[in-house]
Amino acid sequence: MNPFAYERASNAAGAVAAVAGHPGAAFLGGGTNLVDHMRLGVASPDLLVDITKLPFDRVEELPSGGVRIGAGVRNSDLAADQLIRSRYPMLSQALLSGASGQLRNLATTGGNLLQRTRCVYFQDVTTPCNKREPGTGCSAIGGYTRYHAILGASEHCVAVHPSDMAVAMVALDATVVVLGRLGERRVKLVEFHRLPGDDPWQDTVLGHGELIVAVELPALPFATRSAYRKVRDRASFAFALVSVAAALDVEGGTVRDARVALGGVAHKPWRATQAEAALRGAPATAESFRRAADAELAAARPLDGNAYKIPMVRNTMVAVLRDLSAEATP
């Protein structure tokens, strides 16, 4: 590991100035992804600015009925928060399906959004990878693609974003609040992560030195009926093969509104807008749910090793929506 200097930030503006003014600097959250990358040689910052002592550790109700989550809130505390559990159960479930108890106690909200792909080639510095080393090529294409993308990939990168939390947040239409040298800006989470395109090394729209200070969730009354389902190789402590976050508003057997997002399918948490459009106004039946899934999956382009994800997403989406609509009819 390369040597690095360490600073503990005491205020947000100071943290931004310290990183923005230093090309080799990085923010340090819980460290559960960054320390791993430094050990693997995937990242080699020469200055770490520790932001865990900044006062961003609260979950607060907003006057609008939404919730503001400090970027430093630990994944365990967010999952256990009463507001989140009662109003946005899919978010608690997503968090609780990720990593392990002792990692969630360290992992922060900001760090979770910015965790990088688990593509094995990305993590193995002996192999070519456009995301790690621009222009070297993509080892996954033509290689081992079981965990890779079926939607939105490019010829330069077929990696998926690994976060569970972000899938629920994107379904909930979250906004990321970012502090830069020129002040604060707000970015819709659905536009925060990028598709790989020609520049897969750029995971998000965040610039160097920009600090995530909070994530805001708008009020969504029907999200009290929501769920996150994750399909993986073992029952616990594994990344998603695919996952589905959904909220369903059903009245009199008809879908009034729906939120659906997918994990494990793309370079970003995937908001399933085609599925949502197909669901609105449709009868709340398995047939409609299947049609909604097919609408979303029409654009899917499987690789050699991951065609299984298409029926897996379809079946998981139908099952989640069916369970949510069953809850609606007592």
Partner: protein, 172 residues
């Protein structure tokens, strides 16, 4: 680059100089001689390095020691009260909750932290009612302990040991 830090380990304040690259796990083991946290994977995947960090269970291999200057740490060894074993340690002995013992200190710290989370009413991935009371069924124990792997496969007895302590405390 060196940094001077203080860690409160098992009740004793210890000052030490570490390279900033030193993990909390290596600081504990190599600098302070606290050998109960183990290095299994060094990537957060096995749980052998779990301690109670400022009162909560945490892996120590993906943390830099310098980032935890001032922290209070309890290792599996520090859970005991001199020769008097902690009830979780006693239960692991009574139920044969180990074979080689390599994962055991991490299992025990994790179990102690996990019971406190359950007592505070925190749900898990297998909790049906997110806002209801937590009852530590075997499924709940297994899910909440999934961050601790055991290559010897002592899981059945590990669950039995934790179940016994949870019952005594009224959470199972």
């Amino acid at each position: 680059m060196d940094a001077r830090i203080t860690l409160h380990v098992d009740g004793v304040a210890r000052s030490l100089t570490v390279d900033t690259r030193t993990s909390l796990l290596d600081a504990l083991r190599d600098h302070l001689g606290a050998m109960s946290p183990k290095k299994g994977c060094d990537h957060g995947q096995c749980g052998a390095c779990t301690v109670l960090l400022d009162g909560r269970r945490a892996t120590t291999c993906l943390a830099f020691a310098v980032a935890h200057d001032g922290a209070t740490i309890i290792t599996a060894q520090g859970l005991a009260n001199g020769d008097g074993l902690h009830e979780m340690q006693r239960a692991f002995l009574d139920h044969d909750g180990f074979q080689c013992g390599y994962c055991t200190p991490g299992q025990i710290c994790s179990a102690v932290g996990m019971l406190e989370e359950a007592e505070a009413g925190h749900p898990s991935h297998v909790t049906q009612d997110l806002t209801g009371p937590v009852v530590l069924t075997d499924d709940e124990i297994r899910e909440r302990m999934s961050g601790n792997l055991c290559r010897c496969g002592a899981y059945v007895n590990i669950v039995a040991a934790i179940r016994e302590v949870a019952r005594k405390e009224g959470s199972a």
